[in-house]
């Protein structure tokens, strides 16, 4: 997609046209040399994550480092991310600095951008606090991206209708079959809570470690067949004869309207909705064994960013106890740094759930899981 010469000639002509048309419009350009420096953060996630940044991180960071101003751009999971990726790729191709200084996104985009050279590789020299992050977590993303918090998917159920909560994945499956139409998970293209249920079915028959590491071989996907069969067989017993709504929030809304009594949900989001009174009082959350997947959310630094210095300061601050405590207190997340750097009281509180989640498949396998789910589960009905 390299732009050919006509584009450049055209660009000049178009520029003249624009100059004539928009002479009076003015052009407030991006913040350049002015003080203080403005960092543009693009954060995708659900509302609880927006709140974590807007009400937690950003005020605290600005107070500690008044030389930086922070501009927050919120993107609903998935929908804006493709646009931001296009924007970064275009900046790279045009040889321009980009106004995306930090991006929290899905691992898929980070993987896609590595061969394009879009990201800055992190190191403890640039971000001293990186030394506190477990090595394997950093290596999983090849040091492209800073894992600053973790969260996991759990099973949410309405205790008014579910008298004995499930303990294992097989319990969940048995309950679904015994109570047709009262369970669903979101389309895995639209949310992690759906991906968790799908991978749980796949992991039921294979070794998770084989798919969470870096190596990728399409041939290994043949082993997923049993998992697909199980999901396919479950379809008639799903809500609305096999309907999977869009996004984590939509599943919570089905639980709220009591269309369903059980679902896989993100622990932090479920608790957030529950405490706001948006779920029935009888809602409960439980983790099964082996646990469902969870992940370390990462923020990635575009190599073309115009404010790398300031963003590195922010990244380092994100790994301080001050910021990490916000992760725990505001979104019930898990810290990004090693547990041993957290206060004893926090360690005590989280000792049962700490890192209690299965690993995510690597982004390439995950992309194939999403595509194959569509092909082998919902379209095969």
């Amino acid at each position: 997609m390299r732009p050919a010469r006509p584009v450049r000639v055209g660009a000049a002509v178009l520029a003249i046209l624009l100059a004539v048309l928009l002479a009076g419009a003015g052009r407030p350009g991006p913040a350049g040399a002015q003080q203080p420096v403005t960092l543009n953060l693009y954060i995708s996630g659900d509302t609880n994550i927006f709140d974590l940044w807007q009400k937690g991180f950003i005020p605290a960071f600005s107070k500690r480092y008044p030389q930086y101003r922070v501009n927050f751009v919120g993107l609903m999971h998935g929908n804006g991310n493709d646009g931001i990726y296009d924007k970064l790729l275009a900046a790279k191709r045009a040889g321009r600095r980009t106004d995306v200084d930090l991006w929290e996104t899905e691992p898929g985009y980070v993987t896609q951008g590595i061969p394009e050279g879009l990201w800055l590789k992190l190191s403890p020299r640039a971000v001293p606090n990186l030394a506190k992050v477990p090595k394997d977590v950093l290596e999983a993303a090849e040091y492209y991206g800073l894992p600053y918090r973790g969260s996991s998917v759990v099973i949410g159920y309405n205790s008014q209708f579910v008298k004995t909560p499930p303990k294992t994945f097989d319990d969940v499956v048995a309950w679904i079959k015994a109570n047709p139409g009262k369970f669903t998970y979101c389309d895995p293209n639209t949310g992690g809570s759906g991906q968790a249920f799908v991978t749980a079915a796949i992991y039921r028959y294979v070794d998770p470690a084989r798919y969470s590491g870096k190596p990728y071989d399409v041939k290994d996907e043949a082993a997923w067949e049993q998992g697909w069969k199980m999901l396919r067989d479950l379809q008639p017993a799903m809500y609305n004869n096999g309907f999977h709504p869009n996004g984590n929030v939509a599943v919570l809304q089905l639980l709220a309207q009591q269309n369903i009594y059980m679902a896989s949900v993100w622990s932090d989001m479920g608790l957030d909705f529950y405490t706001r009174g948006q779920l029935p009082k009888s809602m409960r959350f439980t983790q099964i064994t082996p646990p469902l997947i969870g992940d370390d959310a990462r923020v990635t630094l575009p190599a073309g960013s115009a404010h790398i210095g300031g963003t590195l300061v922010l990244l380092n601050w994100l790994l301080t106890p001050e910021a990490q405590n916000m992760v725990i207190n505001m979104v019930a997340g898990y810290p990004g740094i090693d547990w041993k750097y957290m206060p004893a009281s926090v360690r005590e509180k989280f000792k049962d759930v700490a890192k209690g989640f299965a690993p995510y498949p690597n982004p390439k396998y995950l992309a194939d899981i999403k595509r194959l789910w569509h092909e082998k589960v919902v379209a095969a009905q």
Binding site: M76, A90, A91, R96
Partner: protein, 274 residues
Amino acid sequence: MSPTWYWSVGALRRAVGVGAFLALAAFILGPLLTLLLWACAGSWLFPSLLPEFSFKWWAYVLANADVTKAIRMSFASAPLATALSALICVPAAYAFARLRFPGRRALLLSFLSANAFPKIGLYVSIATLFYRLNLMDTFAGVVLIQMVNTLLFMIWIPTGTFRGINTNLEEAARDAGAGPLRTFFQITLPIALPGLIVAVLFAFLAAFDEAQGTLIVGTPNHITMPVMMYTLVLSYPQPVGAVFSVLLSLPSIAFLLLAQRYLRAGYLAAGYSL
């Protein structure tokens, strides 16, 4: 004018007709009224027929300063995009309708591509061009990307309108010694005005609704309403989505009330007379 041709065909048919209209009205208004109810709901759990009323979510939403900023950006950019589009497209539409030039049909058809080519395949190239022109994160860039969506409406509808206007009047004016520009402004334009207003309306709405391109070009400092809309409507609890929806529809509905004078029967005259 005498009573209409199909309106006086008996009471039964009339009753059926009224019933059909009521059903249609329910279909059109039902979803919007539901939204209004949700916006006033503290919570609304099945099987209650009505929600538990509360306005607590309004306070939650109105505390968000980004929303008002985005509304202002939308109302600055969409009208400008529409005006610029009208400025360059109406003369072109006149040419398409009245002048013979090589490749006329192919060029007219080519404007279809502005709406028919799914843009997700184009954004990287468009954004690259915008970076080269230093249009990223600028007001001008947002206006330009919104203009793309208006082209089809601003070319096709006026072309149909001009084509529908009888040339005798123009010829008479020319024969009486009026120059081509004077003929256009004094004869053609007034007759075409209703059709042009419809085109402007659709163009405005197309510019106003543009989301993905504006997201790419406008972030981080030039964010419009539709860019926020997905996030606001879909990722908050249902009443919040409803409050946002009502809030974000209000400007449009106000516009409707302003424009309805032109939309009402009688003003939409002479669009496509053949």
